[in-house]
């Protein structure tokens, strides 16, 4: 239960995912379920794919036709509540925000972690991006097994 443990229910998570066909291209998954006064996802999206609206307490809605999965919202979300997900070549690809040092290295094998903080498998670091405009929140491209598409949320380094 999100309210008591911080872990959203599976049904709630699925409300933020498009179907697997749409996920053939990378899409933003906005895990912001609660009305809080916040809208940087909307204002940072260069494609106007995320809508919060006049009342900034409204949770964001993604237009998957417009979303390119660029990942700009991922590091602009103050709640680190957005990831980008994609299903491609029998793998699940993600772009996740990361704010820990030392940073993982490209090619490194890491633990795949679910929303409860449990290890659910392995993942591979594909790319690490940390430009100045990201203001210290790195964007990490990572790949893992397709069956983890709705489970995976972050990584944990093995050493």
């Amino acid at each position: 239960m999100l309210k008591t443990t911080g872990v959203p229910d599976k049904a709630l998570i699925l409300t933020r995912f498009p179907d697997d066909v749409i996920l053939g291209k990378p899409k933003a998954i906005t895990e912001c379920y609660e009305p809080i006064p916040c809208n940087p996802c909307e204002t940072s999206c260069p494609f106007e794919a995320i809508t919060v609206g006049e009342d900034i307490n409204t949770p964001p809605k993604v237009d998957f036709d417009k979303c390119t999965g660029c990942g700009i919202c991922v590091y602009n979300c103050p709640g680190l509540a957005i990831i980008v997900a994609q299903l491609k070549n029998d793998k699940a690809y993600f772009k996740i925000p990361y704010e820990f040092i030392p940073m993982p290295e490209v090619g490194e094998t890491v633990h795949a972690i679910n929303r409860a903080g449990e290890i659910i498998g392995e993942a591979k670091i594909e790319k690490v991006t940390l430009r100045k405009k990201q203001d210290k929140t790195a964007l990490i491209d990572v790949s893992t097994n397709t069956e983890l598409i709705h489970e995976f949320v972050t990584i944990r380094r093995m050493r």
Partner: protein, 364 residues
């Protein structure tokens, strides 16, 4: 005796914001700050802020402090500062007494006074709550993010409001093991995005639980936590011992309003606003004319609201002193709307009902 148009007590987000708007209106101000530099609690906030662009959303608190300080620097001719100086008395003849870093005591007279003193951390009463290693969560944030000192290696956080959740995350970033976040209420108090962020790191959050006692020989070694029922009574047999070398208490803030009671402002205990707050009208003026308030001192909220309140009150004070901002009407409307917007969601409900209670209005 020094004489100023506007004396601002507290150089935090609301004090700085007010100084800027007052300066734009043509009013000179003097900011008195107890710390070595202005910026208030923003200087230790390493996380990105919420809100909208107007309140510097997605900017880290520490950088928002820089923005506000630089904005004030543009009005160097109008804004002056006394840092490492504490206001020790506020009197009905609009005289304040201050003590500086060298213990020099002096008096300043002001035409208008803005009290923007913020809030302080609430504490908890439990067995051995004075053992070294027991901290306020905000204190730990200062220790860690300003001074680069870790509070310990194994920590339990008491309280799951935004401060508790954010400081827990920052402790993890600093390499400290946060063993658990416990919350006396039946639900997590802060934003769930913060809770989820922490949960992903493997930090357990337990509701209906509080700290019962602390143990240690000269310093904290362990705590006993216990489950609570819905009436906040301990459930027998649910005690659990956790070994920790630091305990962070994050059970809310209470307004630092003692200067206001001292000068005779009418005060009211409003639990939704954090404790004793001054009775104010819509212009944020207290019952003592020309004494205004902004920020947490008149109700504990997020720093975003404190900034906007500061801007708003700065405009009003300018107007009161006969120096109206060139865009007064438009800006007043804008800031009012921003505050309404920040407070309109479920998390703003406490502030909305608290303010209504404070102003003696019926809350819809």
């Amino acid at each position: 005796m020094k004489h100023v148009d506007l004396l601002i007590i507290g150089g935090g987000p609301s004090g700085l914001a007010a100084a800027k708007m007052a300066a734009e209106s043509g009013v000179s101000s003097l900011i008195i700050e107890r710390d070595t530099k202005v910026g208030g609690q923003l200087v230790k906030q390493t996380h990105m802020f919420f809100g909208s662009e107007k309140q510097y959303a997605k900017t880290r608190g520490i950088n928002i402090a820089e923005i506000l300080i630089n904005d004030c620097k543009e009005h160097d001719d109008k804004i002056s500062y006394m840092t490492e100086t504490t206001v020790v008395g506020l009197y009905p003849d609009y005289v304040v007494t201050v003590m500086d870093r060298n213990h020099k005591y002096s008096k300043i007279k002001a035409n208008t006074i803005l009290v923007a003193t913020g809030a302080s951390e609430k504490v908890l009463a439990f067995e051995n709550n004075d053992l070294p290693g027991i901290y306020g969560a905000g204190a730990v944030q200062t220790l860690m993010n300003v001074h680069g000192v870790l509070p310990g290696q194994d920590v339990v956080m008491v309280g799951s409001g935004n401060i508790g959740l954010i400081v827990s995350y920052q402790l993890m970033q600093a390499g400290v093991n946060v063993k658990r976040v416990i919350e006396a209420a039946s639900v997590i108090g802060g934003y769930k995005v913060h809770a989820s962020k922490l949960k992903r790191l493997g930090v357990e959050i337990t509701t209906n639980m509080t700290v019962k006692s602390a143990q240690g020989n000269g310093a904290l070694e362990s705590i006993v936590v216990q489950k609570l029922d819905d009436d906040w009574q301990f459930i027998p047999g649910t005690e659990e011992e956790i070994s920790v070398d630091a305990l962070c208490i994050s059970v809310g803030l209470s307004p630092l309003s003692n200067l206001l009671s001292m000068v005779g402002c009418e005060m009211k205990y409003v639990s939704a606003l954090g404790g004793n707050v001054p009775v104010i009208d819509h212009s944020h003026e207290t019952t003592v004319p020309n004494i205004f308030v902004a920020g947490d001192v008149c109700g504990v909220e997020e720093a975003s609201s404190a900034i906007v309140e500061g801007y708003y009150v700065g405009l009003i004070i300018g107007n009161r002193l006969g120096k109206t901002h060139p865009h007064y009407e438009r800006l007043i409307q804008d800031f009012t709307q921003q505050l309404d917007n920040l407070r309109s969601g479920p998390f703003g409900e406490k502030t909305r009902s608290g303010l209504a209670q404070l102003r003696g209005e019926q809350h819809a």
